[in-house]
């Protein structure tokens, strides 16, 4: 009787969470899936037509490929920068708390502000970066025209480095100091200690950073939308931007829903693959 009563209480407490996820996640996902089976008019049933159309749509394929490039660039550079900063700021340096806080500011800043800020900084005619280069006798650059995707990767890394650093800092502080002490006694130098102790013991953190990073980069929309509007041409029209264009410009919500379901599947598959790789590495 007591166990049944406890179970009832547990269900009462769980119900809000179940309701929350059902109403705000599972039902919308189901609705997306259903909408994806219909044409732009929302009436004509097309089955899996929207899904097969996506696979042969050159704009969608292009946006998916550049999104993978963007995700890879952001993950690799972002992880390296975050880890580097964490290692540096894990040392007993003067003012490290201040630096840690300062580095977190871009992450805490609204993506709209970050986008507008960098759009102004990178403006080839009146942007501060080119003025700085010119004052140093260097030629000005048209960052957003010649290397738009790389520039968006750079801004994303700048914006997220502080957060990655905090995660790695937490990981670093969980590594017992005696490992380093023993390695030092055995004559291991700083690089050896980093590759033999720090990096392997940070594997769970790295896995977490990469999964979170992958999910957010595959869904990236706001930054390229604000900085370049997906241009020039379609050079920064990432998958989520393409999806947005299909829905709100072309007014084809059936196709857009199918695209969003495909994105969900890709994110799920890649995240599960990462988890499997992480499990094997830990084993």
């Amino acid at each position: 009787m007591i166990r049944r009563r406890q179970a009832a209480t547990a269900w009462l407490f769980l119900t809000p969470a179940v309701l929350f996820f059902t109403l705000l996640f599972f039902l919308p996902i189901g609705n997306q899936l259903l909408t994806g089976l219909y044409d732009a008019d929302g009436v004509s049933f097309v089955g899996l037509g929207n899904f097969s159309r996506a696979l042969s749509d050159p704009e969608v394929v292009h946006s998916f490929l550049i999104t993978l490039l963007y995700a890879a660039g952001t993950l690799i550079v972002g992880t390296a920068v975050g880890l580097g900063l964490a290692v540096i700021l894990n040392q007993a340096l003067p003012g490290r708390t201040l630096f840690r806080s300062l580095l977190l500011i871009p992450y805490l800043t609204s993506v709209s502000i970050v986008g507008l800020l960098w759009r102004n900084i990178l403006d080839p005619q009146v942007g501060i970066l080119n003025r700085l280069l010119e004052s140093l006798g260097l030629p000005g650059q048209t960052w957003l025209s010649t290397h738009p995707l790389a520039t968006i990767v750079g801004i994303t890394v700048w914006s997220g480095a502080g957060y990655t650093m905090v995660l790695f800092l937490a990981g670093l502080q969980g590594i017992p100091g005696l490992y380093y002490e023993a390695a030092r006694i055995d004559g291991a130098g700083p690089w050896r200690r980093f590759f033999a102790i720090t990096l392997p013991l940070l594997a769970p953190t790295t896995l977490f950073v990469s999964i979170i990073g992958l999910i957010s980069t595959l869904q990236q929309f706001a930054l390229p939308y604000i900085v370049t509007g997906g241009g020039p041409g379609n050079a920064t029209s990432l998958y989520a931007h393409r999806l947005f264009i299909v829905a709100f410009n072309d007014n084809d919500f059936g196709y857009a829903s199918a695209l969003s379901v495909l994105l969900l599947i890709v994110v799920l598959v890649l995240s599960l693959a990462q988890l499997r790789i992480g499990d094997r590495a830990n084993a």
């Binding site: 009563r5 005619q125 025209s145 370049t228 709100f248 410009n249 072309d250």
Partner: protein
């Protein structure tokens, strides 16, 4: 019946409270809130058109009808996004500014905005369409039905020039090129092209090019004229270095900002840039010249309108606000404030307008406006094809893609979209 101890009782009570709170949060809005909502009048407006005179009209309208006026301002792309979502959800504003002629037709044919002819016919004093310039009206009609009322009527293609840098404005493409090259020095560019693809319209119109001929499923024809126009623009940037390559953004004010910063000697645009230049750089001696002549002299029609969503709470009220916002008195005040040109014939005939040299130039530009293909808006594919054009234009103007091939690709894609 099982007995409850105090601990279990408290647990169950707390659980029920949490559940009740969630249920309350998920419940529909109360009738009182709905009543409040009925007294709120929502307007979607372009952020660049938030003139004081419109604010005064809207405030007065709210007072007269005891309404809370919710005047929301957006950049055009954001307004379009929000409106599309609203049409889907059925929760629409009461009045919307239309980005350009044809947009209302597209929404109207889909049943999302109201046909306005009955309102206009019943309101003879309003003077529609008689007192409105024909081009502004015709571009908003399809098969005799009107889906929006013109708010502004402007022309893209005016040559803005800095009188301290240029004595005599260019009249032809050759003169434009010569002046752009001769005024390019140090940090000043002779001209500045726009990243917004709609700013190519004056150039291709001056080669007698139609953007679309939906009936024939053709785009940017005749092809030779289109190639000439886009090649001319591309050469200004990459061959003559007389214009910086524009930066891809959703903002169309780049050339105006360069001009205001005295980093560009001239640029091609419309009356909407007069106000920002006057306010931002009052020291600049601004000159305004009529559209250039290529094969012909031409400008492209621009200017927003007003439309009423089909599910607006009270369309009669929305119509009344339209009549106030487009009254000739309001038009004259808006012109005085911003330099914007207006669609009423009685506005054009007003002595204050006729005596203004800038407005005289705008009137000349309006006289050479190229015809619009109203069938494009009616096709329901205008937005999709405009997006394809945006991509092609940026590839040519920013990324230096070959003009002929890019235009050919655009024609193919646009034809397929139709």
């Amino acid at each position: 019946m099982p007995s409850l101890d105090r601990r279990s009782f408290l647990q169950l009570g707390l659980g029920a409270t949490v559940l009740g709170a969630v249920g309350t949060g998920c419940s529909p809005a109360t009738p009182a809130a709905q009543k409040q909502d009925a007294r709120t009048f929502t307007i979607y407006w372009n952020a660049g058109h938030g003139y004081q005179v419109y604010k005064d009209v809207i405030d007065q309208f709210g007072k007269d009808h005891d309404l809370e006026m919710n005047w929301q301002k957006f950049q055009w792309p954001d307004l379009t996004t929000k409106l599309t979502a609203d049409f889907r959800s059925g929760n629409v504003p009461d009045l919307v500014e239309e980005v350009s002629a044809g947009t209302g037709t597209q929404y109207g044919l889909a049943g999302n905005v109201l046909a306005l002819d009955e309102f206009a016919t019943a309101d003879q004093a309003f003077g529609f369409p008689g007192d409105f310039i024909d081009q502004a009206v015709v571009a908003r009609q399809y098969e005799g039905t009107t889906y929006s009322i013109p708010l502004h009527l402007t022309a893209n293609g005016l040559v803005f020039y800095n009188k301290e840098m240029i004595d005599k404005p260019p009249a032809t493409w050759d003169e434009f090129l010569d002046l752009a090259r001769s005024t390019t020095k140090d940090k000043v560019s002779g001209t500045a092209l726009n990243s917004d693809a709609s700013y190519a319209a004056p150039f291709y119109s001056q080669q007698n090019v139609d953007f679309s001929q939906v009936g024939a499923k053709q785009f940017m024809v005749p092809q030779d004229g289109a190639r000439k126009a886009l090649q001319f623009m591309q050469d200004l940037i990459f061959t003559h270095k007389a214009s910086p390559a524009p930066v891809a953004t959703t903002d169309y004010s780049g050339p105006q900002k360069l001009f205001s910063a005295e980093r560009a000697a001239m640029f091609v645009s419309g009356p909407w840039d007069i106000g920002p230049i006057r306010q931002g750089s009052p020291d600049i001696d601004l000159g305004l010249a009529v559209p250039l002549t290529g094969a012909v002299q031409a400008s492209s029609m621009a200017g927003s309108g007003l439309m009423i969503p089909a599910k607006a709470k009270d369309p009669e009220l929305s119509w009344e606000l339209i009549t106030r916002l487009t009254a000739v008195k309001t038009e004259l005040a808006a012109t005085k404030e911003s330099g914007m040109s207006m669609p009423r014939k009685s506005w054009a005939a007003d002595p204050a307008v006729a005596a203004d040299p800038n407005l005289g130039t705008i009137a000349k530009a309006l006289a050479v406006v190229a015809d619009q293909d109203v069938a494009l808006a009616a096709s329901g594919k205008a937005a999709q094809i405009t997006e394809l054009w945006k991509k092609a234009y940026q590839q040519m103007i920013i990324q230096h893609a070959p003009v002929e091939q890019t235009l050919a690709d655009f024609r193919k894609q646009a034809g397929a979209a139709l």
